[in-house]
Amino acid sequence: MNIQTIMQALQDTALATFIRESGSAFPTLESVHVIGIALVFGTIAVVDLRLLGVASHRKSALRLIHELLPFTWVAFLVCVITGSLMFISNAITYSENILFWWKMGLLALAGLNMAVFHLGVYRRIDEWDTTLPPPAQARIAGLGSMVLWVGVIALGRWIGFL
């Protein structure tokens, strides 16, 4: 089975057909997707800025991360669900859109950046928890995250224009 057959099967499902043919399903998904993006990027930017050395509403970087990350993850899950539903509604078209794959690639890089941070300088966070500015590794992770997420948003917008 090649990719095209899978995509065709995806967009032939009853759910995908409903989203494609209903007038209001797609814009509703888009709206919820934007609310999710706003919460993902809004909360991640607060953490990223703290990693870059911008003081936040509390001193401890660890507590800030623990406090905000649940919001980020729930919002990200909302984005994944709404994004997947939009994707299946026109699976063939999206799978042939190179910018869609660039967006997925940047998402993977953002995940990798987060993994490097968590396995690296985050393990020593008690050494720099209330220090401003944080160590270089943390600042690089913060900057990288910010740049990658803006890239994800930009590509998401460009998908519709290609």
């Binding site: 814009p27 934007v34 609310i35 706003a38 919460l39 809004g42 509403h57 948003i153 930009a154 519709g160």
Partner: protein, 162 residues
């Protein structure tokens, strides 16, 4: 009708034509618009949840509000400017659009509410009695989050309605 004349004139201006002719302008401006939505919505949700008493309750209210309000105000300025560019580029699709005007009404309501709840806390030496507290403020904080979500919904629906 006067509106039609204004739209035709605006549509024909070199600035409006340039926005449409340079194909990168609209998606780029939309990307900046979404990043600013994330900043205003993220800041609003974080400080509204603090006002509602469900987030960062161990941090003084004034500190949390003052941390995020300038970001909300600056994001609003960016949103108005990028929104203005999009409206000038496509005045025929925006200025006669009922969802657009509903959105503008909601933006005024949402920001006025946000400011009204916050301004006693933003003044440097507000007497403690002047600070809005209690269940009314909690309810208004939740209403504020709902209003911002409605703004985002309307923003996406402008493209689908007349």
């Amino acid at each position: 009708m006067a509106t039609d004349a204004i739209i035709s004139w605006l549509y024909a201006t070199p600035f409006s034509t340039a926005i449409r002719d340079m194909l990168w302008v609209v998606p780029t401006v939309q990307t900046i618009h979404i990043v600013a939505i994330a900043v205003i919505f993220g800041s609003a949700v974080i400080s509204d949840l603090r006002l509602a008493g469900v987030f960062a309750r161990d941090e003084p209210l004034r500190g949390v509000i003052r941390r995020y309000y300038p970001w909300m105000r600056n994001a609003l300025i960016v949103l108005l400017l990028t929104g203005l560019i999009m409206s000038i580029g496509e005045p025929d699709r925006v200025l006669v659009n009922s969802t657009f005007w509903l959105k503008m009404g909601l933006v005024v309501a949402a920001f006025a509410l946000a400011w009204w709840i916050r301004y006693p806390l933003l003044r440097t030496a507000a007497p403690a009695t002047d600070v809005r507290t209690g269940s009314q403020v909690k309810a208004l904080a939740w209403l504020s989050i709902v209003l911002w979500c409605a703004v985002i919904f309307c923003g996406r629906w402008i493209a689908y309605t007349i």
